[in-house]
Amino acid sequence: MSLINIKNAMKSATGPKYWRSLNELSQTAEFREWIGKEFPGGVEMLDGQSRRNVLKVMAASFGLAGLAACRRPVDHILPYSHGVENLIPGQAYFYSTVYSLAGRATGLLVETHDGRPTKVEGNPDHPSSLGAATAFQQAAVLSLYDPDRSARFLENGKPTEKSWKEFDAYLKSLSLGDGSGLRFLSHAVNSPSLQMMRGEALKKFPKAKWVEFEPTAYNNGTELAFGQLLTVHPQFDKAKVVVSLDSDFLGVDSLTPLPTKQFSKRRRITDETLENLNRLYAVESQFSITGMNADHRLRLKPSEVKQFAFDLAAAMGAAPGLNVVGGSDKRAKFLAAITKDLKSAGPEALVVAGPRQSASVHAVAHLINESLRSQAVTYTKAEPSASLEALTALTSEMNAGQVSTLFIFGGNPVYSAPADLQFSAALSKVANSVHLGEEEDETAVSAKWHVPQAHFLESWSDARSFDGTVSIQQPMIDAMYGGKTPGEMVALIIDYKDKRAYDLVRSFWKAQFPEKDAETMWRKALHDGVVASVTRFEPVKVSADAKRIAAAIAAEPKSASGLEIAFVPSYSTFDGRFANNGWLQEAPDPMTKLVWGNAAMVSPATARAQNLEDSAIVTLSRGNYKMDAAILIQPGLADGVIVMAIGYGRTKCGRVGTDVGFNANLIRTSDAYWSASGISTAPTGRAYTHVTTAERGLDPHNDPPILVKETADHQNSRPIIREVSLEEYKKNPKAVEEMNEVPTLQSIYPERDYSKGYQWGMSIDLTACTGCNACVVACQAENNSPVVGKDQVRRGREMHWIRMDRYFTGTEDDPRAVTQPLPCMQCQNAPCENVCPVAATSHSPEGLNDMAYNRCVGTRYCANNCPYKVRHFNFLNFHKHEPAIIGMAYNPDVTVRMRGVMEKCTYCVQRIQEAKIKSQAEGRRDQIRDGEIKTACQQTCPAEAIVFGNINDPESRVAKLKKQERDYAMMAEIDVRPRTTYLAKIHNPNPELEA
């Protein structure tokens, strides 16, 4: 205590006027410490609180009681006492941001309600979103409010009271020197500001290395084909004929909605634009949604796909000196047909290869595209990014003791690194390891320190997308658990300064802008979601080196015999990073319909040959590596291959993702990163219960394990999904209508008049829909549908308002599959309505089949009488064990339903009402524009397969689609008159393969 302090304090205007001791007056350290002990959290209050501030804090405390984490970024907090212009409490606001997954950025618009993000939509101005979002992006909101998200520090794997202060001290205690023992390991970096920070760090620590790793990384063959690393930009909208070599570009092999957006452009045909329809050939070992959407599909093992690719190049004459090896008749026929079709399509043809294929197959695809002069693919220069080799090198350095300090920014290498690297053991040899992560995962507990990372919705950053467009990643909410971004961490490491990500990103970008417009441009970039001034990548002119490719092909090992394994990213957990997301875990796999788990999938023929039984747990082994997994017999897989989704079997995860499924990484070694041969199976004698949403109606003892036969037989005679080939449709446009016999149906009562006002309706294009699940998750996010858990799904109680139905057709061994999104059909003559004893569900004048939750007593009669079974009953209080924080994710425009009431799709009635209010406020009552209202499923759909609107308006898109000849009402014969109708699937088979 010094007198000077006291004097200063007395002089200062903000110092206490009344004081109890000199200590208090002078604010000595001892006094502050004492206050801290006496009143935890009260120290801050000492710093000059005016009456106004106290009242403000008090008011805020009252107002935000229970919403403690509901904070906006501190820089934008505006005291509500002044009133903010244009800010209406309760009104949703949209902010742009950007999301990166494995180095691929997608621009998003995030809906926020009173400072909390509730819903993600695609940013129409962003080139890789174009307004759509994937299931992963839709689920991001739930990850933000994940109660198991890292909120504390771990030291040596154990929770600690220590925080940033102690961590700073720890950082300072590290002698990083010139960085010779310093390594960084991060996800693929596509953030310009982080790249800048990386540059700074490597400048300060010249001997340090920065390694990027993605469990789904692959070699795209451009180095082999063109001698330089390039990014491949397939443009599916420009291709009339597409050949996919083991690529699930419509599914998880694409990390943005763009490929589906482009591809579906050639599938959303109308009666006038039939010629626009493309043709897709898929050659694959798994049964992906790309395979489901293919017009022709050839099932081959991964090694056979490779040989097929080489043969295709040979048949095309693209690779001199290469000869067709040949195979079965079917394969030969397929090869000949593709060759012919590709040649005739010429520049409108495109061949793409998937991650499961080696660089030489990718190179061959590039070669074929070049020989075709394909207009549907361009290449841009690329920087080396995430690769397996880099991680392998890092691990060997760690094992050799050359790494003294390792910073892991995001990612979970202990779980996801190839098994043979034994990353965990290597990590234990690193003296100082720091893991910055969003969850307390396997890596977090293995590292010396674990530091909470901010979620992308609560942190500033930026991201460059595939074509060079940059978007600013702006937070919607202040970091709830005080997490930091990788950029902030790098700043901390460089000069121990706690720089804020906002300043880092903002100063970086302001420096890029001309000084006088910097602020305007910055604000515009934030508003638009894209930085306008950044130039896009220029396509480069390249030519493939056929000789080098031929040499690589010659060096490829000959196709192996025996059982092979192929790894695929999961449609739900991707590489395991979404394992703790209930929405995704519960979204049924588009093909297998599995929820809450994965399986070792084999084709029926393989199961017979290998003597594998469905649901039996077997030990899969390859070399020294083995794992247990349950068999799932999945029709349509290639014979002789086991397909496993990665991303399951997490051992250290939150309450949702721990011990769900089987960890395929246990046998995923670096030489078997995507596929391998030499796998063997051994029975364990144990059984497992797969939970799917497709086969619940089967008796496990009397029915075959697969629904294929059952549904194929019954579906064939039931005109539920209607398919017709393009040729047939051209010949007879009534073909779809003729598939079902609808008698003349008459009512003895006068018909209700639906010719006035808005009459909402929906059209779903089965030709365009890929079955990607984005709508399922978007609906769950928009409509507050609960997650019910594996056991409840097994009992048939999942709550998805829109579901993806999948049917197989054809033979059990070589089926095709079709998919059909099924929301409530909003029947005009709804069978659910007249049976409700309390009139809880009734018809609106606008044709909506409304549901009054608070009127419902829950007799379930409506659900019984629903021919589509789209009504969902709250059998239990599915929100009972939900942590309070999940409540933040809920859309305040939609009621959270209690137990005992029925619920179903409402056509997003809240959005309809919002648009009505808006149109009235703007003085155009009853003049909602077409497309102004988008249902959640429609808005996110990357295929634009769902169109909603006023069917009373003949100019609306939906009305026009409903006039298409291929429009049909499912089960029209029972006179329910669904407002949702389907556009029949038109496939485009190659006549040569049809015979």
């Binding site: 497709a694 619940r696 109606g697 089967l698 008796d699 009397n702 029915d703 629904l707 549904t711 019954h714 579906q715 005679s717 039931r718 539920i720 409840q792 009992r795 048939g796 109680r797 999942e798 139905d805 999948r806 049917y807 099924l822 069978p831 007249n834 049976v835 409700c836 004893p837 309390v838 009139a839 009734s842 608070n854 009127r855 419902c856 007593v857 829950g858 007799t859 379930r860 009669y861 659900a863 019984n864 009488n865 021919p867 589509y868 079974k869 009504r871 969902h872 009953f873 709250n874 059998f875 239990l876 209080n877 209690m898 137990r899 005992g900 009431v901 029925m902 089960m971 029972i974 329910v976």
Partner: protein, 473 residues
């Protein structure tokens, strides 16, 4: 008094076996009343043991319902698509059981079937108890039973609106509540003279007081009898359409829907026949036990039982015809969903339930074509039980298995009952038996005043004399 005792009496040589036998009017009153009047504490031990078992099961029911209301319908096996399973199966099952009571009291009364007098009281009581058990399910099968009163058109401040009168569930509410009310009145009206008898015979003050109030001042005057007969006739007239209407309305729950297997116009007569079928089987089970334990062989004779078996045979055959008709129409209609549903019913995953019902409801009752079998106590006891199991399965097959596989194969499901399902159903059986046991102990199980009207001593005649024509009343 036993069969043996009567036949040994040389004065009573009979050619045509009468309906009931008793030495005289007094001994009949004595026989029935003593069951009721004995000292409660001196009730045989086997009664208490049985009552404690059924009582415990009733407590189990209360526990299950508490658990259900506290947790949600999810404790049952119901799911999507099977919104109704054991709950509504049990409801229809119990309602069906009740039908025999009304039929015996009302229709047989109007048709002057005198043999009904021995069985009508217990059949009516059974009706009431069965409807009580039935009523539990529609109430507790709702997701929010605390709001179930919204199904009644009572003024409430929660939501001031009418019910949806287009919903068959609302028709159910009216049908079942009317049915219960009328059945209760009917039963009680019939009880009044007997209650007066008990009042007159009562020794203890409490009993005098209780029976005094319950007997509504009955003195047995001619005027009373006249009013009584008129009231009874009117109530019988009101009840008669109810026998047909209640189960018809219950069947509308299904018949008016669009679900294949439910959407069938044959349901009303089919359900009514099935209800009478199961109701008679249930009466049979209970009467056989009562006859044996309470020595009522003289009042409930083989003739009664045989008549009931004939009705079981007829209604069982009607049900069998309905089954066949459904299959025929499913094929004849050409409707693919309908065809599949019936194929699936017989040969799908629930084939065992369907065949269990066909066997028990159609094939086994055909044994009653043989007089020897339909007068054999053991045969009828076994068949009465298999019939009720069969009829439970009928409801299960119609309600639950039709829901398992309807239009879209992707929304097919399977139903697995949970332990709560089973305990709840067992609990209602416990409640039913408990109520019946209490009734049998404290109220006359046989209508004393009515059975006297058909007492055989009035028609007693000696060897050589010609059998008189049936005496009216």
């Amino acid at each position: 008094m036993s069969d043996v005792a009567i036949t040994q009496n040389p004065a009573l040589i009979e050619v045509n076996p009468p309906l009931v036998r008793a030495a005289d009017l007094h001994s009949l009153t004595e026989q029935i009343s003593t069951i009721v009047e004995g000292d409660v504490l001196k009730t045989p031990m086997k009664y208490w043991i049985t009552l404690s078992i059924t009582g415990s099961v009733t407590v189990l029911l209360l526990a299950m319902l508490t658990y259900l209301v506290a947790t949600g319908i999810g404790v049952w096996g119901n799911n999507r698509p099977i919104g109704w399973a054991w709950d509504i199966t049990n409801f229809v099952f119990w309602i069906g059981i009740g039908h025999a009571g009304t039929l015996i009291s009302a229709i047989l009364f109007l048709f002057r079937q005198k043999w009904r007098t021995s069985i009508n009281r217990s059949a009516e009581a059974m009706t009431l108890f069965a409807v009580m058990c039935a009523g539990i399910f529609p109430l507790f099968h709702t997701g929010r039973p605390w709001r179930a009163y919204w199904l009644f058109p009572v003024p409430n401040t929660d939501i001031t609106m009418w019910q949806n009168f287009r919903s068959p569930l609302i028709w159910d509410v009216f049908a079942v509540s009317t049915y219960f009310t009328v059945s209760l009145l009917f039963w009680y009206t019939g009880l009044v003279p007997d209650l007066a008898t008990l009042r007159d015979r009562a020794i203890s003050k409490i009993k005098q007081w209780v029976f005094g109030i319950l007997s509504l001042g009955w003195r047995g005057s001619a005027r009373h009898w006249r009013n009584y007969e008129a009231a009874y006739l009117i109530l019988a007239g009101i009840s008669t359409p109810l026998v047909l209407s209640v189960h018809s309305v219950v069947s509308f729950d299904f018949a008016t829907s669009v679900i294949p297997g439910w959407h069938t116009t044959i349901f009303p007569p089919y359900f009514v026949a099935g209800a009478i079928f199961s109701g008679f089987a249930c009466v049979m089970t209970l009467l056989l036990v009562a006859r044996w334990t309470l020595n009522l062989q003289n009042l409930i004779t083989i003739k009664h039982l045989e008549n009931m078996n004939k009705i079981i045979l007829v209604t069982g055959s009607i049900v069998g015809y309905a089954y066949a008709c459904e299959f025929f129409i499913a094929w004849f209609s050409g409707n693919i969903y309908e065809r599949f549903t019936f194929w699936n019913r017989a040969f799908g995953p629930y084939w065992w339930a369907a065949w269990s019902m066909y066997t028990r409801n159609v094939f086994i009752p055909q044994l009653y074509w043989f007089k020897k079998l339909r007068t054999n106590l053991w045969v009828m006891f076994v068949i009465s039980i298999t019939t009720n199991i069969g009829m439970w399965f009928e409801r299960f097959v119609i309600i639950a298995t039709s829901l398992t596989r309807d239009f879209l194969p992707t929304s097919w499901g399977f139903f697995h009952p949970t332990w709560v399902d089973m305990c709840t159903f067992a609990g209602t059986i416990g409640l039913f038996l408990t109520l019946f046991l209490i009734f049998a102990r404290f109220l006359p199980m046989i209508a004393i005043s009515e059975v006297k009207g058909v007492l055989s001593h009035e028609k007693r005649f000696f060897k050589g004399q010609k059998a008189p024509v049936e005496v009216n009343q």
